[in-house]
Symmetry: D2
Subunit: 362 residues, 4 copies
């Protein structure tokens, strides 16, 4: 239940205010150089408290590799990574231990399990996504070896849409904005939300370039289906589009079909996926995040015993979760693609005969 | 790769123009009355050729249960179902055997596998979804026993949106329309598309009422993530929304959070899912279908050997796949919910002690 | 629950006296020549009623491929196979419908599921193993392409042990005997059992030659563990040994360790597996079958309502299930090895870079 | 690949001489009291260096729970546990870094992965079994709640067999001996092996009492098949028997069938499992361990480059791995049974209707 993936599997553990969070990434092929600095850099991109636009919780998010790497190289054994929680202010949550915060998982966890670690949302906290980013970083290292690169950025905040998409700019932007022209307006929306003790939604665009043709296993591990699952499973995501997504429903077939020339596809409405299999074009996914449920305005709710009460949150929260969410989208995309690259091995008999025939040794 | 689900698993087989299609549904609890007529009725709702708005292919889609049912009751053994293909006109496909139809999976299957059953798209054909509907029908029978009902209908065709949603009307509508007022316009759009040898997109709304609180297994079998996967994996789907979906990104947190009263949630922007777990409200999913890729206008493409050519399709196709797709959405929703209802058993120790303690016999 | 394997998966269905039994074999790489005659030959080796030493049930066991093969070649789509039941004498079972046959699964199925298809044991019948043999036949075809061959034979019946192992002889022997000298005594034991309305146990030896080094995925898909699971899951099996098995517990480490020379291992006590991974030597498994539980002597038992009664079976049964069981052992071994050959793809980064780097197309 | 189990899953990580070993146990129902002392006690039973009959490596094996437990109670979230390695003498292994120790996994890991963590066998070391024992301890706590108890002991060492089985005695015996009369002879065999720089094999008997009828999921998660897999996957195990195992092959059917009276089964040759499902009797498994491959006598082997050399081990090793192995057998048995107890939920429709019908809330 806490494992993601098929041949490359990420199993995560940990709660927002427990001792540690972490993961076991299993299925990494032997022989990959594990650049620890890169993994830490990825975590740093996601870590909270980098700017006034983010939660004030300050976590170093220092990752430690516990296994699976020998002299800097992956051995084929599972790679365990751990991040100790440091800046836990569990007391912040005393006042909410008996009530259900609107828009949060408090209500459902309590009713499903009959017990709830209320400190910062416990297991349901987005803090767990740090483990995904750690796992995704290694997936990125794998993908790099086969020429695949992944980028994500924020294309919309509070309804303010990017006019164009500059992934290089997003890398340096405080809000991972794809459009430097629109960026100041988007920033302002975040600040306004924060100042009014509220929050705003946002949209992330994620792409992968260099994806080989043939990734995705029909009919039930289709690449687009798995990307949808991966993205919808990120905290606060409420919609996922592949390629032109919803816009395709307003086109005629003759407009939407990507015609094919001897130099490749003439357009990419499909977002790089046909029949659930990558077609060699850029893989494009759009991910829609609802506004952060943690807001500081008073809200109506009930206690565990059913009595009505007012939820008045304090503490530290992102006014727009889509921003740090973009880094998580990249990680999930990397995990899916690396997994599919592994699963596709064996699609043809010649994969077997090439490997085993000549020398009977692997 | 051709198995969907975790504890309730549907494994399908078959190609558009092979001998038969079918499935094995495994994990159905013993003691369920298997109403064969209901299964057939569900297939009849999906089957092609019922109206001039659909493909002219006429398949009886007569389903036969081969196993797992004894004297009308499920035994706990896998339930195999088979549908023989009858109205196959493989010759229709002779002219496309060497080229890749734009918008179809021809290109990707060929490049992945090095071989392609070109007759009607082979394995990639939406014909396979009949097997899903058969499996979904049994999932519906299971769900009915615990008070869950599933409905779907078409809320938009070619950009023409339903003003309101009447699921009862959809059941009798030729195009499964949710809004009888708008229905004639939507129908006209389909006919126009057909007449102009083109196709149109559409949007399906699917809901489940009576879903118990607690379904969905965090963090990687979240109910919303699995619904997204299930829906995005249906042929021609390009976007999936949960609850208010994209609209939530334009709200403030204070607007989007569903506040809680002693009588339940005051609103349902979340679409019945919080933190990946059902909250007892109606589960709401919106599914966006691209226009049918099979159109009769000439299109530019290439042959297997890379030479450019014109693709001129003939044959029998739906001008709007969203319509029959709605029935498939229901089936996938049923499969996901029934699976989650089973997986949730064991969420609490008392599930174990209640069953095993008193008499040590199950 | 009815699916075996990880990347090559066999999902079976069907009951002893239902309409049909069959399977879906998923994960077969595209491009394999599917020799239908070979599959039928394998089924013929297992099918009942070939000699007076076997059950009198006469089943043609004619297998039909329904999908996944196009013009004689596998396409990468799931391969469904079906065998219709023909010689069903369900009436034979009327007298046992309310009682539990000793040594059979009647008691446990009834208590687990609350319902039981009593005709010939229903789902628990060894008849299901025909589907395994069909799937195993295709696994053998895959393995042949990479130079692996599998053999099995009977090395012991009723305590009468083979002095040596001639797998070629086993192929022509009515009782699949490995030792032609001992064979008449073993045959006699079977006949005696039959004549005295009783049954005898037996032991099967199964080997695989040409297995490449590197198959088996530590730590929880070890080759020996999976072979043990595969074999122990065959009806009537009560013990499994790898290599010298139990005999190793009577050796000193210095005797049991297979020393290594520049020409390979100096001995093969390990049975071709070290640390759960194949070492290039012959893979050797010994499988112990209990005597057939169906005997014609009266036995004490109880009815569903708990009252004591006498179980007096009639009908048609093998006096020694190990004989036809040997064919099933081969099939399971083939399924495990082909699965592991696929899973091992991706053990090293160079598997990925070799496939994806040069031309980015698969 | 490093995950064991279906609904209760244990994912382990770590190498013999890495920073830490550990596991994530997922699927533990919420509401279980997690007795940390008990978990530590179990680890203490397995830990090395307790007596001169064991390896001299001294590991505290202090386990720390990192997640999934809140105020002493399981929350339904994954439970991560970590054990830091302390007494690592990696230098002991410098001399073997380029050669393959006979009887070990060095050869196969190197050929599979192309890289090998040679320090103490790396991932292939039996040190990993500490993580299994930690996970198994929690499985035991679960089972205790439903009345199941698990015991194991050593019944044979170097061919010296126990005359009877006293599991209480085994708990206090330095060599976990089941028969106090034979124990001194068995101990002597271990000491002799140690003194002669050699090692001996042994056999473990493991049983579970109080197992409810109905555990095991036919046809491919049969209880006996899963126990065989679980046991054969333990380091150095070469054979597994269920119930009377091999002895059943020497019986007639009339002797081996357990007849049924109104008070239960008249005998238990089957070892508590019929048709892969528990029948309510004691579940009995016998596990055969080869002699420890690490011996101090010189052995012939080759280097990575294929040149012949002599392997002369020093260091710290158990002369008989079956002894500490017995604790691991208990853990694996507990993991399998707890998993099956969870999987069996949902075998009947009434499991669903009982839980969901009355109040629609879980």
């Amino acid at each position: 239940m806490n494992t993601f993936g098929r041949k490359l599997t990420l199993t995560t553990f940990g709660e927002s205010h427990g001792k540690a969070i972490g993961c076991i990434l299993d299925g990494v092929p032997a022989g990959l150089s594990i650049n620890e600095e890169f993994i830490q850099d990825e975590l740093d991109r996601r870590k909270p408290g980098k700017s006034p636009l983010e939660t004030g919780r300050k976590e170093d998010d220092r990752v430690e590799i516990l296994s699976g790497v020998f002299e800097g190289i992956s051995t084929g054994a599972p790679i365990a990574m751990i991040i100790f929680n440091t800046d836990q202010k569990s007391k912040d949550y005393e006042n909410i231990k008996d009530l259900f915060r609107p828009g949060h998982a408090d209500f459902t966890y309590y009713h499903k399990y009959g017990i709830r670690d209320y400190r910062g949302g416990g297991r349901s906290s987005a803090r767990e996504t740090a483990a995904r980013v750690a796992g995704g970083a290694i997936a990125k290292l794998m993908l790099k070896e086969i020429g695949v690169e992944i980028h994500a950025g924020v294309c919309e905040i509070d309804g303010i849409k990017a006019g164009f998409h500059d992934f290089d700019h997003a890398k340096t932007s405080q809000i991972l904005a794809l459009d430097p022209v629109i960026e100041p307006l988007q920033k302002e929306a975040v600040i306004n939300a924060k100042n009014s003790h509220d929050s705003v939604g946002g949209v992330v665009l994620a792409t992968a370039v260099g994806v080989p043709t043939g990734l995705g296993e029909p009919l039930y591990y289709k690449l687009d289906a798995l990307l949808a699952e991966a993205m919808m499973g990120i905290n606060a995501v409420k919609a996922v589009e592949i390629g032109d997504g919803i816009a395709t429903t307003h086109m005629k077939g003759s407009q939407n079909n990507d015609q094919i020339t001897k130099d490749g596809f003439a357009s990419n409405h499909a977002g790089g996926i046909l029949g659930g299999i990558s077609d060699g074009e850029e893989v494009v996914v759009k991910i829609h995040f609802k506004p952060t449920p943690s807001i500081f305005k008073p809200q109506q709710t009930i206690n565990k015993d059913g009595t009505e009460t007012v939820c008045k949150l304090s503490g530290r929260h992102d006014p727009c979760v889509a921003i740090r969410g973009a880094v998580v989208c990249e990680a999930m995309m990397a995990l899916v693609l690396a997994d599919m690259a592994l699963l596709n091995l064996g699609a043809r008999m010649e994969h077997l005969t090439t490997l085993y025939r000549p020398k009977k040794q692997v």
